[in-house]
Amino acid sequence: MQSVRRQAGHPRAERPLGASHHSPDLDLNTLEVFPVIAKSGPLSRNDFQRSNVRPSEDVTRCRPLLYGVLLSLLCAALVIPSTAMADQRERLLSLVTRMESSYARVSDYTAVFRKQERVEGRLLPEETTLLKFQKPLKVYMKWIEDPSKGTEALYVDGSNGNKLLVHRGGILGILTLSLDPRGSLAMTRNRHPITEVGFGYLIDGLQRNIKTALQHGELELTLLAEESFRGRFAIVVEAKFAPRAGRTYHASRMVCHIDKDLMLPIGAAFYDEGDVLFERYSYSDVKLNVGLTPLDFSRENKAYRF
């Protein structure tokens, strides 16, 4: 992109030509071609003083041509980036669509699911669970690392009175609790109920937030990198939301890792207006369509402790 060197004091800073914050010394309507300045050290205002010498007749004759060239360059500077940005936006939007398509082909899956959430202002320790999920909404989770190792949770939509069955690990596990999944006890130390666990809810949320923000011009989508993430090759996408007119989004900034092979969001981190992390989730050791059975989601399963 063509750029204009700024005034003395910021010799290395550059700004796009035609940007709204151009120097008051640079009037695009009367722009003249300066001689190439060969000078070591920072440039000063004097380096850009207009010459008092009248332009030669050759230069005067060539002026329309120069204006044409400059106008072309200016148009190119404006059009090429916007085209590139549009291409990138389309590519990123297609990622969301592809994630939806990928998830549509999934009936069940197992994974190691990690979550870390900020609750009541405090970032809680990361929790690591073994997750079993079957559509439409059957969830079994077992905490496999401290501090909650041994805890189990089971929620099957339409069964067990639509209650969340949960028991703690260790000696506290002698009682199985039957809780409203959105009640105060179940939501203690959680930002989301168990009914919102899994790829489906995450993809729905991404799709909903991104489409709304795009519709209102309140989104900045960036393809950050492709990198290894928990042993998988992933595309890293950043979304920044700038809500206006009272609209709200789930986060101010979101960084998502999309598994390139599975085309599923295996990592997502959400930041608030102060760019402080408030939620982070990841999935590893993902196995799709493994053929989970009713016993995997039964409180009578002898391998469980409900």
């Binding site: 067990n160 009175g161 209650k163 069955l165 009682l175 199985t176 609790l177 039957s178 809780l179 409203d180 009640g183 006890l185």
Partner: protein, 66 residues
């Protein structure tokens, strides 16, 4: 327990069931389990888990009116 009773202003009797005697005698499996027993000592209502507060309240009123 005494501190908790005082803190929450609980006026009704509370049974201590550290040995799970009552828990087991009603085949209780999950907490909370709510049983309503009428004046004749018959279990008239059971609810497992949180929730159903309105239904429970209505049942209590109906049983008291009998």
């Amino acid at each position: 327990m005494k501190d908790a009773v005082k803190r929450f202003g609980i006026l009704f009797p509370i049974a201590i069931d550290n040995g799970f005697t009552i828990w087991d005698s009603y085949n209780t499996r999950y907490w909370p389990t709510l049983l309503l027993i009428d004046k004749r000592g018959v279990v008239r209502y059971a609810h497992v888990g949180e929730g159903a507060y309105d239904l429970t309240e209505q049942t209590i009123l109906r049983l008291l009116a009998e």
